[in-house]
Symmetry: C2
């Protein structure tokens, strides 16, 4: 791993032209798209420099001519898929009221995370100030503009909703990944776990955990239900925001 870290260069790359080819036709765009395809199909771990290069038909080290390193490639991947969010669909602010607008924002972000689960692993750390990320911020803020919130409150509300979506989406992705890695569905895993858990828990007493856990897993048919958590949490949060506005 390199110790370098040049914010200026990263930013310039994010905003620059990705279609200017080198001698063999290699472009930044092609590299990023190959990496995204790999990550979509097999997870972020599969988006290896070697495998990306193979997919493109170039030598591994040739990638470094166009991209400083893995970190910057990740940033490019992130900003690229963020571009999918509101292109070809309605602007979030075109909805009827801030509540419907925020719900729409949440749903679009949720869908994006389902389509690209690796997004959650690739973000974190400093924000990715690419063009599409800024476009997204702008579009989402429009929903909250002019409804009686201060500027800081607008940012806080948006952050709150997005943090919620990210959290439940991460939970969803984690479960899906566990299922893929272990080869066990949620139900199979529970069937293998429950009896051992029962045996090992004898002597201890968890009345509430037992009662509530049982009720929940009965309803969810699983150990957790991110889809339900998404909807429930969004409702509660929007109710709280309502109260903030009044």
């Amino acid at each position: 791993m390199s110790a370098k870290s040049d914010p200026g260069r990263s930013l310039a790359l994010l905003w620059g032209s990705h279609t200017r080819p080198g001698r063999s036709g290699l472009t930044v765009r092609a590299i990023v798209e190959a990496a995204i395809a790999l990550a979509d199909a097999e997870g972020l771990d599969a988006a290896t420099m070697r495998r990306v290069a193979d997919k493109i038909g170039s030598g591994t080290m040739s990638l470094y001519t166009h991209v400083p390193g893995k970190t910057e490639l990740n940033d490019l991947m992130v900003d690229t898929v963020i571009g999918e969010l509101y292109t070809g669909v309605d602007d979030p602010s075109g909805r009827d009221g801030w509540r419907a607008g925020m719900r729409y924002v949440a749903e679009r972000n949720w869908d994006l995370s389902l389509r690209h689960p690796w997004l959650l692993d690739a973000t974190g750390g400093r924000p990715t100030l690419g063009p599409n990320a800024l476009l997204k911020y702008e579009a989402e803020l429009r929903v909250l503009d002019g409804i009686g919130l201060t500027d800081v409150q607008m940012d806080s509300v948006l952050t709150l909703v997005l943090t919620h979506v990210e959290g439940v989406a991460r939970s969803h992705a984690g479960l899906a990944r566990a299922q893929r890695d272990s080869g066990l569905t949620e139900l199979e895993w529970w069937r293998a776990t429950a009896p051992v858990l029962e045996r090992v828990m004898t002597g201890h007493d968890f009345p509430l955990a037992g009662r509530v856990g049982e009720a929940s897993s009965q309803v969810y048919q699983a150990s957790a239900d991110p889809v339900h958590a998404f909807a429930f949490g969004l409702d509660v949060i929007l109710d709280g925001v309502q109260r903030l506005i009044d």
Copy 2:
């Protein structure tokens, strides 16, 4: 990496005795504690099998006599630090009302994530049904028992609050990590980034993003403020829960 995955064995390990020594005095407890110390000091990436073994004074492969693999060691680390949550302090349900109780739960979890930032990277996937995790679930549910929520609602509310805390804690940890890795403080990074961003953004127009982003970063003195997000979000969520109860 091995392809194995034995829920039964993992559970048994979590609940079993960690103090039974092998021939050279090596115990599961010692291994786990060394790994935690490493992760606390230098991040989860530093908790390598080789480095853990070195710290203990044993051969690398000897660890595998006591622990099936890295995954299971992570689970053990997680359940162990979860044990810190409510030991030696008040039970969350001893508070005055569910609201103060939930606030306490959120704060304890937030503190834990600050003390052990790697926790956020080590969880995810299926839940870690260790003894301390169950104790935590039980203790936290007590806060919400008998206030007019159904069992499923109790689980949903708790999940919502914990998801929020996890999200903002992850944001905090990400910023701290970026600062450590890049050697740039938040302010230094912004000073290096802002001018380039300004230059590259000419021609585009982000009126709201500019206005709101400026106002926020002025108040936070940074690109984001997880501490503020924690408090703000918690208030909003608890207001929403209040409404759910009424």
